[in-house]
């Protein structure tokens, strides 16, 4: 009997490995392996055709001391992330609060707000390039009609990042939807209890809704950081980093080095630094979360 069980167990274990095999191979070949390889590649000079040349830390030295575009792109990406992520987070949350009220046409409203977030990024970039067009773009025309002399959004180094922020806000519906789901997941008896204790709407918001939503806000924040530091498609299509490198997002700099100048080693160094930056920022957010994220059952 015991022997039978053992073989049965073994059979199950074998099947376990077998069924997980594609996932395990995928993990090793396409994620774990490349991650390690990228560290090695970052210490080489390599165009991908001739054999790689080991150059030690010289790529990192170049990044630190000689590559002006590195610091510039890092700054641009950081500024964008620090403005755009909180703005989208707050807007998405407020929008979800409003759309969670009992209103007429609720489903239609939610759909309208959500739709922009599923428009493919290439199309988003094409559309907004036309909307932002100097003088003849819809935005400048609209602003002119209310008497505002609009800037040359995509042609002025000072206005190109704000333009990206505005465009990013158009896609706030994605965050709204997740927040909406979170709001609907809050047990109603918490609100009932608060009302019985005499809490008004504002107090219920700050003492029930927001604490209950903090885990989701944390999730959105971390996802926002990971995505926000990797902006590529819209910048590549809309401005190609211009004008005068004012929208040279980090990923654009990385892409150019790796796939336009064929500097795979240098590109890998840039990728690792961005990766570390993302890890550090996320870690800081997680660290801080013990102070502001409320988990039910961990009182």
């Amino acid at each position: 009997m015991v022997a039978f069980l053992k073989t049965n167990r073994q059979r199950e274990a074998m099947y376990g490995w077998l069924f997980a095999l594609p996932a395990i191979i995928g993990f090793v070949v396409f994620d774990f392996g490349p991650m390690f390889a990228s560290v090695l590649i970052s210490f080489t000079e390599w165009n991908g055709v001739t054999p790689p040349k080991w150059v030690g830390i010289s790529n990192y030295e170049e990044i630190a001391f000689r590559d002006d575009l590195f610091m510039l792109s890092l700054r641009i990406t950081t500024i964008f992330a620090f403005v755009s992520i909180p703005l989208n987070l707050v807007t998405g949350f407020l929008l979800a609060l409003l759309l969670n009220q009992k209103i007429r046409g609720q489903a239609l409203m939610r759909t309208l707000y959500y739709l922009p977030s599923i428009v493919p990024l290439v199309a988003v970039a094409a559309l907004w390039r036309w909307i932002f067009l100097k003088r003849f773009g819809l935005l400048d025309i609209g602003l002119a009609m209310i008497g505002i002399q609009a800037p040359d959004w995509l042609g002025d180094p000072n206005w190109v990042l704000p333009a990206f922020v505005v465009m990013g806000l158009w896609g706030v519906g994605g965050g709204m939807l997740i927040n909406l789901a979170g709001l609907q997941g809050i047990p109603t008896d918490l609100y009932d209890a608060a009302s019985i204790d005499g809490a008004n709407a504002v107090q219920r918001l700050f003492n029930v809704t927001i604490p209950m939503m903090t885990p989701l806000i944390l999730f959105n924040l971390v996802m926002g950081i990971i995505g926000g530091l990797q902006v590529f498609v819209v910048a590549f299509v809309m401005t190609a980093g211009g004008p005068n490198n004012a929208s040279l997002f980090y990923m654009l700099h990385l892409y150019r080095n790796a796939f336009e100048y064929f500097r795979l080693g240098y590109g890998s160094s840039l990728a690792l630094i961005l990766f570390l930056y993302i890890v550090v920022l996320s870690a800081l957010v997680f660290r801080s979360s013990t102070a502001w994220v409320y988990y039910e059952g961990h009182r």
Partner: protein, 299 residues
């Protein structure tokens, strides 16, 4: 009691209460009005870019730039669409995109559901460790593996083929594994037992019990995957070099960054590229939203 003893006091109190409830009602009404005003204004703002895209796409070139802007073109140039879509071999691009999307989606459905089964139902050593490692890669930013993967695929001679865009999907996507696993966990284990008594083996339970019962989550995965491959940009950009191998996304980018192309044609191509995704969303809305909600709320 108060009424009987001090009738004179009661009436001011009643009057006061009356005013308060009236005020309350008024405040409520006012709140509603403000709520609707904000939501309507926002809905108009997020919808205008769509209308502008469609409107511009149907305009003769002479009506593109006008003050005040022309919303309904006269005449409506439907032929802008065939004109834009034949300026480049877009039919070919769309076929290419579908080959990739279908190939990759089939692969990820098979491999991810297999992995999910191994993690949800089978007992084997290191299962939880492997699952944890797999989950970590969900957070792994794509840029870190981009260059080593490119090196790998170029060594295999796969550059300028669809293989780098399809093959990895056959080795499971950690996020989809997670999504399907959570669904499998919710299916009662008694079903497995019953099937086992009826003579089903490990594979039989996966194929005849788990998969047919998991159609909702498989639909979600399929939708996400197709959407992802329709929108995918940086992968096709890196791997596909010949124009006739382009996907629709990079074909569109090629088209809209060509300064010779009028905005009406750009918008026609962009709209044509966006419409399938919006249709896909409406057709699969239920599964789509379930997936997003699940990602945010339980992820």
């Amino acid at each position: 009691m108060t009424h009987i003893l001090r009738p004179t006091v009661v009436s001011p109190v009643r009057a006061f209460l009356g005013v308060v409830t009236n005020r309350h009602r008024l405040a409520n009404l006012l709140g509603k009005v403000v709520l609707y005003a904000i939501l309507m204004a926002g809905a108009v703002l997020v919808t205008i870019p769509f209308i502008w895209m469609v409107s511009s796409s149907l305009k003769p070139q002479t009506q593109l730039v006008a003050f005040p802007p022309i919303w309904i073109p006269d005449p409506i140039l439907w032929q802008n669409y065939p004109k834009a879509l034949t300026a480049l071999p877009f039919a070919r691009f769309i076929a290419n995109t579908l080959i990739i999307a279908v190939g990759a989606t089939l692969g990820t459905l098979v491999s991810s559901s297999m992995g999910a089964y191994a993690f949800a139902r089978l007992r084997w050593r290191f299962r939880d460790t492997v699952f944890f490692l797999l989950l970590l890669t969900i957070m792994l930013p794509g840029q870190i593996t981009m260059i080593p993967r490119f090196v790998l695929f170029s060594k295999l001679g796969w550059v300028n083929t669809y293989l780098p865009l399809i093959v990895p999907a056959w080795f499971a996507n950690p996020f989809f594994v997670f999504l399907i696993r959570q669904f499998f966990m919710g299916l009662p284990p008694e079903l497995d037992d019953a099937a086992r008594i009826d003579g089903a083996g490990v594979f039989g339970i996966y194929w005849r019990i788990m998969l047919p019962l998991s159609k909702p989550v498989l639909a979600t995965v399929a939708l996400f995957s197709v959407q992802h491959h329709w929108n995918a940009f940086i992968g096709p950009l890196i791997y596909l070099h010949d124009l006739e191998k382009f996907t629709a996304a990079i074909g569109l980018r090629y088209f809209v960054t060509d300064t010779q192309v009028y905005y009406s044609l750009q918008m026609a191509a962009s709209a044509a590229f966006t419409i399938p995704i919006i249709v896909l969303f409406f057709v699969g809305q239920r599964y789509f939203i379930q997936g997003i909600v699940f990602t945010g709320v339980k992820g």
